[in-house]
Amino acid sequence: MPCPLRGRPGMRTQPSLRPKTSCFPIPVPMKKFSPRFQRSQIGATLLILLLAVGCGRDLSHLEPVPHPDLSTVEAGARDQLEDGKRKLDKDLKDRDDAVVAAAFGSLGELYHAYGLNEAAAVCYRNAMTMAPGDFAWPYYTGLLAQESGDLAAAEQAFAKAAELRPQSAPVRARLAEVLLLQGRPDDAEPHFTVLLDQDGFAPLAHHGLARIAAQRGHQEQAVDGFHKALELQPSAGGIRNALAQSLRALGRAEEAQAELAKKESGAVVFPDPLRERLDTLPRSAGSFLRRGNQALVAGRLEEAHQLFEQGKAANPKNIELRLNLALTQVRRQRLDDALLELKAALNIEPQNPQIHHDLGTTYMAKGLQAEAVAAFEKAVELEPDYPSAHFNLANAFGSSNQWAKSEAAARRVLELEPDHTRARYLAAMAQHQQGRRQQAEAELRRLLEQNPNERIYREGLASILSATRRVDEAVELILTGAELDQPKEEAVALLNAGAKMVWPHRRQEDAITMWRKAVELDPESSEALTNLANGLQLFRQQDEALELFTRATELDPQNATAWLSEVNLRILAGDHTTAKERLETAVELHPDHIGLANTFARLLATSFDPSVRDGERAIVYARQAYGQQATLDHAETMAMALAETGRFENAIKFQRGLVQQAQAGNDRNTLRRLVTHLRLFENRRPVRSKAP
């Protein structure tokens, strides 16, 4: 017998939102209970009975909710769930069915959000019974069923929800996905087609239709659909995999490879306020930790930070939260904040070796080697079999040139993990630094033989060869390594390290060759161009260097080093007008870059070209640089800027202080320059650069 259609009249133009085989009886059959839950229902049943007596209403047609035992649950979650239960108890006394339905539904949402699905399912069923016209409860029921793998029940529930709210795009989207998951593309297709015109759902629709086309072997159509979905939602990079498969099937392997090389994995998302609401409901530390971790793994650092902070507020004693918050702060470059978190964690668990370990890695990131060593030593004192703490200790000792200790720590790692090749490498480098170069060389050669592609082993061996005046061998080792089959980034890094290694041995030409090779390998690498340009600049090939620096900034506007080098070359060449223009852009892109600020200030204060000079702006940038780092160089710029604006008294005062400092030191050239400028200021003359 056909199911009576209760949808809106307009529904006839849309595909059916009903399952093919049944009239989705409500309540939708869901997962049933294990014996333990059956036992726990007795109390709930009695509760409902008592409440019903109290309110004078017959609620006997409702199912008893199997409230789980929350005694072992974190306080934040327990309080929230107990509040929900209390609200339900209170609202059960209400005469309005809608109120009772909402109370069951709200508690269902809470249980659902905390993953207590059996209790959630019963709550939703009761809510549906009390408010059969509310689409939210069959929708949530559908979500639960889908998550539980009961796709037939999910289909029924989504179809019911769609019947209650035919215009709901999220419902249609869920239904289409469930149909596709059941291997029914023909049933899913019309729903995706309708979604093409729904605001925010076109990416999903194109993606769904493209998948159906691919299943049917219509690969051209699939490629088109995947492209449209990506165009509308570029963050859904996961689509590229399916796109690549369709391209591959069409014989367009190179295009497929290019898509796969992007290595993106973002999912197609669509607006779904009800589902999103569930994610934000739990207020326990555990839930914030979970969500924070998801954000952290996805690289959404600000969101991760916020979530971990909320979690910390929910349970200040949760160590995992604090460790991950500290890690987030490290990734946000807020190293001091990370240290504060870790120290707070230590106050809670002073004997936790991981906290000491993480403290050590944070100190390392801050360049505080002595503190890092102390932290790692504490970690291994508390946990003598902690390989990464020993390894990082070896690193920290190495960074502070305590090579004997570094070697000992690396050896301890090897006792714990004999195949820890990085520790073996570190031990070899420590031997090298202690003058046991033969042993180190033998060890590195062994490592390199086993792992010819491992860049650091090759670099390590090359450094020993360079140090023992076998520069030719080092050069060959580096150039051979760059020819190996490996990611080009690795080859470029190797060549750069090699060039820096041989430069001090008066092998500038070899260094330039290496940097040129790096640029050949990766002409789009801003870093490689910058390295070559730096080398050329030192080799007095300024024109080519300038060209390369400029190209490096075009390829990567975030390359502040290239910006700085480029403008310095322009200033030296006397092209102050262009230098000024470029600095305007550079400081806009890098507002916190001290070097750029100082260079700009100096140019504005001292240029021979009056059209370039601007004393007031010079003071702004000079203050920025000096305020962030009170170095001699920045102080000199400050004095020059003051003089340029005619504030000679201030400039003189400033400069006298610098002269006094310089007199305490032994740098005569600096002292001479400072005194010369002081005399200028005393004669009420600003500093001027020489015209070319």
Partner: protein, 610 residues
């Protein structure tokens, strides 16, 4: 006034766990139509896995164990090797959350010989064999050093006796089978520990695959490493309710896998060389939990498919010169159809759609679907999970070991999935369950080429049990031609499920062996029946999880004309040579028996790679 009454509606019927798990092997009663019957107790298998759990949620405690079905004493039937766990910290085993079962101490891996049942019976439900624990006299270490994970059983030294490579969280172990010792009156296999610097890799390895990587006719080892984890750095990842829980693989650095190449020597000589770097295998680091060797692109060389937990899977295509190239992403077998890497655990390989190439089934976490990659014959795959019927029923299960097998011998490939969660199931935990990871295993019946239906609910008592199963190992335990199952449970009993339906249909069995009489993992047989129908299968492609299954191949015969013997078998050996056999005096290829096909004894079709 409206009367208050009892809530109407029946109590919800039982559909979840049929029984609480525990470290005992109580046998569920089978119904008369059940395809499998649990004969664990009847066959005397008393092994109970101990996982060392203490409430601290150490990551490794819920990952094992595997098992091996192999002929340890060369008497023509399958013996059973089971991997044991151990304590993970300084808490004595008896003080663990689930203490060792009575009789489990000392905690060691166990070797059970398959021996004839004492009594003969016509009752098809009465097994014709029983298990005899011979661990004590076998040379297998009595107290394990390290925490056991899995095992690869194969004749690594080419002496005709199957050896054991045991993976662990500590140094892996190579146990060489010395042959049968009859000094005590009874024939008992003897093993010796021949672990060396190469095989004793200390990384946390889970499965290992024995295969001939370089086509030189000896067996090499692919060792699947998981993550860099130790008790010292174990992390806790509390759930939304703030209760302690296991972390996932992303909490620890993933490890590259290892390729150990067997260095040629005489029979009994056993030495490996680590060629992970030279081969390119160590270029990919992933948390590997599953692996299988097969010839995915049909070039005659054995490739490797590697299932990584939470990162893209790897398809190592054998280049024939000692190098392997990962072609998973372009081949369409690296991530799912949505482009997402899933938590791949188990992997099974077989021809599910009858086109004579090898397809891949992967199992994943709850809320992910099993993935069926269908091969187009060239090594390019298409995700056919939804169309196959495998996707939907898998959403609420965490699948571990899986295997393809035609259990009812109807000519269509079926599948089994061992299930058990890796994160605490909250509702079970709040109800006080001592090991709240248990789920029901799944049985899928083939309903057409590459199409399946979930028949778990119709599979009777053996599939109604809810446990933390990790491996489903396939083998013909009673030599009746159909395929039985050994299930390994984490912190629970190993179970033996006897097939009650497959033996009623005619079948032929094949054993593909080397000149020394050893099974040859990676060899494939294609059987052509009289009606032109062809089926293919490969030795060792269905290893379960961290396990080794029956090396023999069993095919349903079908029509009576087929059964008359009009059969041709073509075998592709891993060295690239191809031979064929037709029924003859030496190999009758008779239905109802296993025929042994020895390399070099057939008609040469090709001595070189195609």
């Amino acid at each position: 006034m409206i009367a208050c009454g009892e809530p109407k509606g029946s109590e919800p019927a039982e559909d979840g766990p049929a029984q609480a798990p525990g470290p005992t092997a109580s046998t569920p009663a089978a119904g008369t139509d059940d395809p499998f019957i649990d004969v664990t107790e009847q066959t005397g298998l008393d092994f109970v896995h101990f996982n060392g759990m203490t409430g601290r949620f150490y990551y490794s405690e819920m990952m094992g164990p595997g098992a091996a079905l192999f002929d340890a004493d060369n008497d023509g039937d399958l013996d059973l090797f089971l991997i044991q766990g151990s304590a993970l910290d300084d808490i004595p085993p008896e003080d663990s959350s689930i203490p060792p079962a009575p009789g489990s101490l000392p905690l060691s891996d166990r070797l059970y010989l398959n021996v004839s049942s004492d009594s003969v019976s016509d009752d098809p439900d009465k097994p014709s064999f029983r298990w005899l624990d011979v661990t004590a006299d076998s040379g297998i270490p009595g107290e394990r050093d390290g925490y056991g994970m899995g095992v690869a059983a194969a004749d690594f030294d080419g002496d005709g006796w199957t050896d054991l490579f045991v993976t662990q969280t500590g140094a892996n172990r190579m146990l060489r089978n010395l042959g049968v010792d009859r000094s005590g009156g009874e024939a008992r296999p003897k093993f010796e520990d021949v672990t060396d610097e190469v095989t004793g890799n200390t990384r946390w390895a889970v499965p290992a695959v024995a295969f001939d990587a370089d086509g030189d006719r000896d067996l090499d080892l692919f060792v699947c490493n998981y993550v860099a984890h130790s008790i010292a750095i174990d992390k806790n990842c509390p759930d939304e309710l703030g209760r302690a829980n296991y972390c996932g693989p992303m909490a620890y650095p993933s490890l590259p896998d290892a390729l150990l190449i067997n260095v040629p020597g005489g029979p009994g000589d056993l030495r490996f060389e680590d060629q992970s770097n030279r081969s390119g295998i160590d270029r990919e680091a992933g948390a590997c939990l599953g692996a299988a060797a097969a010839d995915f692109n049909g070039d005659g060389r054995l490739d490797l498919y590697v299932a990584n937990d939470g990162s893209p899977n790897v398809l190592w295509i054998n280049q024939g010169d000692g190098r392997f190239e990962n072609q998973a992403l372009l081949a369409g077998a690296g991530v799912n159809a949505q482009g997402h890497a899933e938590a791949s655990m188990g992997v099974a390989v077989a021809d599910v759609d009858g086109d004579l190439d090898e397809d891949i089934l992967l199992t994943h976490l709850t809320r992910e679907t099993h993935t069926l990659y269908v091969n187009d014959g060239s090594g390019a795959f298409f995700d056919r999970s939804a169309e196959s019927g495998l996707a939907g029923p898998s959403l609420d299960r965490t699948g571990f070991g899986t295997a393809f097998f035609d259990y009812d011998h109807d000519g269509l490939m079926d599948a089994v999935v061992a299930a058990g969660a890796v994160k605490i199931l909250k509702e079970l935990a709040l109800a006080g369950d001592p090991h709240p990871l248990h789920q029901r295993n799944q049985l899928y019946r083939g309903v057409g080429p590459g199409r399946f239906e979930d028949v778990t609910d119709q599979a009777g008592a053996a599939f109604a049990v809810s446990e933390v199963t990790r491996s489903a190992v396939i083998g013909d335990l009673d030599n009746d031609g159909d395929l039985d199952l050994v299930l390994t449970n984490n912190a629970g009993p190993a179970r033996v499920l006897l097939n009650r339906v497959g033996q009623d249909r005619p079948w032929i069995g094949l054993r593909l062996v080397s000149e020394a009489g050893s099974d040859v993992p990676g060899a494939s047989a294609t059987v052509q029946f009289g009606d032109g129908r062809q089926v293919t299968a490969r030795v060792g492609a269905n290893a379960g999880y961290a396990s080794t299954g029956d090396p023999r191949l069993s095919f349903p015969v079908g029509s009576s004309r087929d059964a008359s013997g009009d059969i041709t078998v073509t075998v592709r050996w891993p060295d690239g040579s191809i031979e064929s056999w037709s029924p003859g005096p030496a190999n009758k290829l008779s239905p109802g028996t296993y025929s042994t096909l020895t390399r070099g004894s057939g008609t040469a079709v090709s001595s070189k790679r195609p």
